[in-house]
Amino acid sequence: MALPESGALPTLSPDELSRYSRHLLLPEVGEKGQQRLKAAKVLVVGAGGLGSPLCLYLAAAGVGHLGIVDMDRVEESNLQRQVLFDVNDLGRSKAERAAAHVRELNPHTQVTVFDQALTADNALSIMEGYDVVVDGTDNFPTRYLVNDACGLLGIPNIYGSIYRFEGQASVFHHGDGPCYRCLYPEPPPPGLVPSCAEGGVLGVLPAVVASIQCTETIKLITGIGEPLSGRLLLYDALAMQFDELQLQRNRDCPLCGDKPTIRELVDYQAFCGLAAQTKPDWDELSVQTLKQRLDRGEQMTIVDVREPYEWEICHLQQAQLIPLQSLESHLSEFDPEQELIVHCKSGARSAKACQLLQAKGFKHPVNLRGGIQAWAKEIDTDMRKY
């Protein structure tokens, strides 16, 4: 990114000079660096696990204008890691609440709220004019969308990603450096890689990755240090190890290669294999219908494909536990002609189980819609939830 010259930089008020005194003491930052932060416009995409510390630290550092994009509402399970929110924010717009907390933290930071999904239709207009985009997204379609839009607009993309105990960070679209498509030309097909919602994430993990993203953002804006461009930083919280891998721009990259073919944004749901969500070939069962059939005393085979630790939290008395990963090796225990009701937490893993059962010749796999979450919400409200 081009650094603004001194003459074009905003001056710092006495309040700001006091607030940012620890930055001003750093010769590498100094007053000019702080003025550059004040002049900077940074867009944070996603106000979740990564976005929470991103917004807090960028505002605290004195970034003059922060844009926050998120369409979600705050849920209780967010509070384990999304430190921007508290119990009073439950059910409310993440982008709006994030902006409110940021304004309380630093009234010198202007905030623009985008309480909406970032899509191929609005991404360029939302992102245009920002100096840096920080990727705090939690899904592949938006990650590729952010990457491509940054590439088309020529905006650096500060990348971070988390899963369970591990994180990745890098800087894309900086000078002649690589982009996310150079790292991963294609996303995994849906279902192959478990999400944090299925596999979990250590609550403090995003703080580490986001602080690296903030550091890189501040470095780019102030023009100090060596950017994390052309390098992929890996963080393993369990081993407490950082590792750095070399990344090179892919000359065949369709976005930033020698002969780019991507000249406009595409359908990222389709690119990630999520476009045609057709009706499944197997039957689905509501928790109400299951309850009625159980009350009638019907004999049914119900398989819970969650993990043992989830079973310990709550389970249906009539179900048997066979985690999805070991389901295939248990298929001989069942009659392929019989109805087999499968459930998980919310219905995604049991859909994969139905797909497997069907592929193996089972005639009547049935997915319990909404999983045990729906059962706990609509049938047995005393059941332990997680």
Binding site: G48, D138, R143, R164, P187, D236, Q246, C272, L274
Partner: protein, 96 residues
């Protein structure tokens, strides 16, 4: 050549929770063949139907992408470290 393969946590359920495996091999392909013998479910995670490394999985040898070193046929250096680095997204994947 001795090689150590580091397995990221998303894939450890296929390696009996082992984070690191040791091999005696000549090329990256040799290591993967032995890996798939020991942990058969890893094959579908790493390789496509044509036997090529999937586009959302990278393997690095001593911090450099094996694609930069000649791909799956790349010769190992003694005591090299191989690292599998899959794409990770975070919270959800469109459908949860």
């Amino acid at each position: 050549m001795h090689a150590t393969l580091k397995v990221p946590s998303p894939l450890r359920r296929f390696t009996d929770n082992q984070s690191q495996l040791d091999f005696e091999a000549v090329t990256v392909n040799n290591v993967l063949d032995q890996l798939f013998d020991r942990c058969p479910e890893m094959r579908a995670q790493l390789m496509d139907e044509d036997g090529q490394l999937r586009n959302f999985v990278n393997i690095y040898m001593d911090k450099v992408d094996i694609r930069e070193r000649g791909g799956l046929g790349a010769p190992l250096t003694h005591n090299c470290e191989l690292r599998i680095v899959p794409a990770i997204a975070g919270g959800r994947y469109g459908i949860a």
